[in-house]
Symmetry: D2
Amino acid sequence: MFLDQQCPRPMTNGASDTLASSFQEVRSLTERLCAPLAVEDYGVQSMPDASPAKWHLAHTTWFFETFVLAHRDQTYRLFHPRFGLLFNSYYNTVGTFWPRAQRGLLARPTVAEVFRYREHVDAALLDLLREKGTRLTPEVPARIVLGLNHEQQHQELLLTDLKHAFSCNPLRPVYRERPSAPSSATELHWRHYPNGVRWIGHDGPDFAYDNEKPRHRVFVQSFQLASRLVTNGEYRAFLEDDGYQRSEFWLSDGWAMRRAEDWRAPLYWEKHDGAWFSTTLGGWHPVRDADPVCHVSYYEADAYARWAGARLPTEAEWETAARECPVDGTFLDSEQLHPRPASTSAGDGPAQMFGEVWQWTASPYVAYPGYRPLEGALGEYNGKFMCNQMVLRGGSCVTPRSHFRRGYRNFFAPHARWQFTGIRLAKDS
Amino acid sequence: MFLDQQCPRPMTNGASDTLASSFQEVRSLTERLCAPLAVEDYGVQSMPDASPAKWHLAHTTWFFETFVLAHRDQTYRLFHPRFGLLFNSYYNTVGTFWPRAQRGLLARPTVAEVFRYREHVDAALLDLLREKGTRLTPEVPARIVLGLNHEQQHQELLLTDLKHAFSCNPLRPVYRERPSAPSSATELHWRHYPNGVRWIGHDGPDFAYDNEKPRHRVFVQSFQLASRLVTNGEYRAFLEDDGYQRSEFWLSDGWAMRRAEDWRAPLYWEKHDGAWFSTTLGGWHPVRDADPVCHVSYYEADAYARWAGARLPTEAEWETAARECPVDGTFLDSEQLHPRPASTSAGDGPAQMFGEVWQWTASPYVAYPGYRPLEGALGEYNGKFMCNQMVLRGGSCVTPRSHFRRGYRNFFAPHARWQFTGIRLAKDS
Amino acid sequence: MFLDQQCPRPMTNGASDTLASSFQEVRSLTERLCAPLAVEDYGVQSMPDASPAKWHLAHTTWFFETFVLAHRDQTYRLFHPRFGLLFNSYYNTVGTFWPRAQRGLLARPTVAEVFRYREHVDAALLDLLREKGTRLTPEVPARIVLGLNHEQQHQELLLTDLKHAFSCNPLRPVYRERPSAPSSATELHWRHYPNGVRWIGHDGPDFAYDNEKPRHRVFVQSFQLASRLVTNGEYRAFLEDDGYQRSEFWLSDGWAMRRAEDWRAPLYWEKHDGAWFSTTLGGWHPVRDADPVCHVSYYEADAYARWAGARLPTEAEWETAARECPVDGTFLDSEQLHPRPASTSAGDGPAQMFGEVWQWTASPYVAYPGYRPLEGALGEYNGKFMCNQMVLRGGSCVTPRSHFRRGYRNFFAPHARWQFTGIRLAKDS
Amino acid sequence: MFLDQQCPRPMTNGASDTLASSFQEVRSLTERLCAPLAVEDYGVQSMPDASPAKWHLAHTTWFFETFVLAHRDQTYRLFHPRFGLLFNSYYNTVGTFWPRAQRGLLARPTVAEVFRYREHVDAALLDLLREKGTRLTPEVPARIVLGLNHEQQHQELLLTDLKHAFSCNPLRPVYRERPSAPSSATELHWRHYPNGVRWIGHDGPDFAYDNEKPRHRVFVQSFQLASRLVTNGEYRAFLEDDGYQRSEFWLSDGWAMRRAEDWRAPLYWEKHDGAWFSTTLGGWHPVRDADPVCHVSYYEADAYARWAGARLPTEAEWETAARECPVDGTFLDSEQLHPRPASTSAGDGPAQMFGEVWQWTASPYVAYPGYRPLEGALGEYNGKFMCNQMVLRGGSCVTPRSHFRRGYRNFFAPHARWQFTGIRLAKDS
């Protein structure tokens, strides 16, 4: 099992046992993900946006320590008085924090110390659940559930950042060798959706982030959505048609970025003797045409769509279509982390909505009407990033399965490429 | 009369006379705006986003030369073979262009040469209208009308950029001395709007930019809108409540920018012996509490709104409310360019929707559903900027009056402060 | 006559008349140098190291106002209270100053105002000389003489900076058209000098900067010096031998700079249809093989020398050789500012020691043993730059003739190229 | 014993045994220096100028592999084909190299692999000495001796860079705890030296770098030299006299750097409750007045000297004085690496010439007259850095004792502070 964690659900009183067991599962999966790493691998920060594995391990722990243990009990004794400084990510309200770009400078605490930190906090939290289980205010389990979802996001980031770090090393380290599997893409067809007022956003008792709410109405124009993702082969045609040299396909900021960074292909692609190769968590391999294209920025996704005579879907369009799809996912062969499962029958809906790559939408990340951030410091979790980011939908091959939700809103800056991000096309109808 | 130019309308065949007269009016107004300038003032570029007055004069001329004269008649002889390089702003399709940040390096052509350039192109264009008037394809007058609207946008930019250049000079140059007039602000109240599907966007035969179309339906939740703009006095209360030191009001990118740039007040505000002063086109004067706050970024507008327990309106909300307002405007006293007109009775709608300051909305600048950019190079006019910008509505004291439209979509990056930008609040209902 | 000003000498009491006349000559020459300029040309700053012509005109005036008029008479009324801020270059002791890189932002004062500033200060200074002539403390004429030498340095800088500004303009402005003259280079031979203790540095009553003193002994090893400067033709052979691609000739910092800036030839050289052209004050012309190579950095001069199997001379070597040469100069044909004078008979010494290009030496700019900077703020004139700069000797085609001195020490950073800098070779003997 | 390695001497034929034993001593000392490190400590690069410990371990090994093993025997099989790319520092002639600033990105090779690399190369080199000992060309032992001196320089750098890395970590890691020892400074007096021609530079059969030769004559003016180093207490008086706020003491570049970096004290000094503390390899401790001031840049050293009414010595002056001193050293108490030895009787010469801190001289680092770099790639060792650097003399508490030489020329950029650099004063006589 790999990142294939059931999403823990908010608990009613008395259900502490279930929560404790979810807690242990999520926490231990994070550590199992690190099993292939050398001690040296835990510390590398290959760019300001990425964090060392060690930092992810400690930060997720700090989250529970700060927002559950210390929040609930002011007599709780911190594991280390300076870890708040080091492992707070961006919560201004909680205190100052270590500069993000300098997370790689911290040789100490050592990996072993970070694992001790995890043990300490895990024990304290399980104690809390055990002893106080029936008398906990509802806030405590809610915060624990949030912390578990948070940790699962960092499970994905840990692998994403590690891939970037490995890609910067000419020795081409491998995270986990996997056998290659043949792949083939289905033919692309267009699915039509009529216009109308749609209900968008999360509803019901299950966990969702604040940014997925409230459920609200949106008038969606009629549109068409591609039945599957754009493939490497299709994207290569864009390259070969000089897509990276023709400004007419690009947004102004995208073109400026492409030139400044000299982008010529998706991140991790390298041309070698006329053929394209790519870094994966399973090593350096030829790019396979049938796989979904991955590691493209919003700018590239948008330019590709314009070149293809199409556009990217809005998030309301995507969510409208997702309503007809099963919420499950397959995994990217190109990462070789998993044997590709038998293709799920997508019923009437489009395929590959979950589990291959995050799908850039044409929608900037803004608050839903009536949005209310969480109270206090946790309000910084999502709300303060609602500017200069684009929404992604779906979920990738390294996303924990329980994070696949029709209403899930991931978001990144339009130039970001190191996430597992790809393209689904849309059209006016 | 000042920037108070009627918007020329697209012409039917035979209406060349009216178009010629509109052309002459717009072009000569641009030059009259330069009357107070010393030769030295025309060349200064005080930051990469701003352009020298000379460049505005030449670029608007290049627009007509390229997109009307040379486009129509391939035998047209360019005034100067290198002016395309120098005065193309950003049209990749038309050729390479001089780096934006280096427009201030160009001592040559001299101001006199630029005025000769204007004369030359004006004469050629009027000739075209005179001789070919009745036989022109519809494209020609449409392009001329676009060019006139384009030039009017640059009339506003010319003054905006000049204000910035003057603000950088410790000698405090004055564009035009104006007598000070007393001002007072009305009490703020909230206007309620019910939810429902609204038609948004431009309709009808009058000129509008491509980005204002097509007219389409949007579901707008119920909301409240402030009856007037936020004043300097109200904004000062935010300052005095440590608004610039409290991260909880700010977007993450906004807070980073505030710290990097050490913002402590709106652009142009300076504290002197405990009182706030501000650069205006009419010189350096005390900040007046009753005037609308101006020269704030989106980040500041958004932070102010959160501090005030409110939010910014979406562009659909703003347009919904604008439907009830007269389309006219008053002028900022603080600029002292105009005596303040008698306050217009705003009827049932909110006041100050047009003519004081551009109003930041909560809406990122994206394409309307079904958006089609203009064909060819002119498609670069608006479409390629639909990323990383926020929509502003209304119009400012330096906006030509014919640009006041309920559907007009201005847009700037969220950190931009040198435009005449202010704040109107909204709330959920 | 062009920059061909006799160096004013320090005055004994009673010689105010001569000083007044020198003052008028130098000051009026500066203004005559500006005669070919359009008003727009005065304001351009094409890079942080260069200054606008207007700034040179005002700064040299500020120098007299501050260090003579206001220094002497505390009741002297400044022409403008803010000109000190604007036109102080780098004298920390005198007050804060406008950031060097932003001198081009100052549309105001206008050119006319700067000329009025000059008139005002000139009149006050001449009054002082006239009325107080016989009773002046020796410090006053000494400071005036320093100010005149200072102004002459700025005469050279004014043209040097103007050339750079013009070179950045695709319209290729011309400072002064001059007829082309044929040129030819003599054969290079090596002159031998034996080792021994030499007296180096300025001596005698004539004016010299503090950094040329005190006269002191240096042990100079035996060496050889090239009989003339390196020519464009010789330098081209270095280019054609891939001199700019072969790291083995370059200093580490030089190689890093060459790569960062993508240097491929001297500044101002451009290849056009296979032939090299170059910006000159006389316009854009083919590079002539027989002219001395100009506008090379120290890094390029040093790399060239290593490629040529030689090295650059130390300043003591250069000064040792200069002792045998007449102190006069010819002018660069390539600038076309002057008809080339009949070649002066150089006697036994090397040719072209003065008046073509400044000659990079291998000597970092440091204090002479026993060096004493001037007292007070004027001590900042030279001393504080004695780090990270290399000494240049000789003088260029735009150096006022009275600045040709055997002991003159010019200095610039090793990457500087916009000065009229060239190469003379040396060798161990 | 600590860094207290006898300098191996160049071998005559047949002395391979001695060389082998020197080789083993130097190589094993490097590894013993790493004994206190956690695996995580080996990889950190806290700034572009500093390198990870792991890189030092591998680079010094690469030096022997490239310049001895592979140079001598073209059939030598490299330990790893990509280690040349990773561990070449700056030898352009030998191939491309990994960007210096990104040495910290390399999680792989692991520390264990680097130690295997060392074992492999050590074995091959010892084999070479054992088998070919008597038949080796003189070049091989000469290169081995160079490699050993090179490795000793990296022993110092390893500790220097580690100190910097530790100083960036708020957990304040300790390299090696040492007991504190009392310290006291002797009274400063001035020693006089008459003028005259002096012989400067290395002579004799012992090892020296190419930049220390050839021995040559310099005319040295009479001067005075301080009998000891400047202490922390003396330097604190400079701070308290606003030395960091008064531009009149500073070189222009130094002042700009001080402001840009906001220097307020030597590197590693932090004020805490009114008292100064400092990072040392032995932890974070109060600054002790009697210890020599350390971790100052050339700019600070020069400014301090000017404030103190003195100046820095030239390297010729320093070497002249060093002739009278014993070549041994004491160790900095403030680092607490060593108990301070009984003060050596300095005879007639100044004290503390070796073994406390490197001493900034007033001499830019340039070639000696007649300087010849080593042949081939090894010529890049020293020569190409002869620009923009200042010479330091003496040796520090982390310098291997065998590197103490009267003619040794260390060099760093004038802004460098992370080396163990201090101040000795001089004066004109």
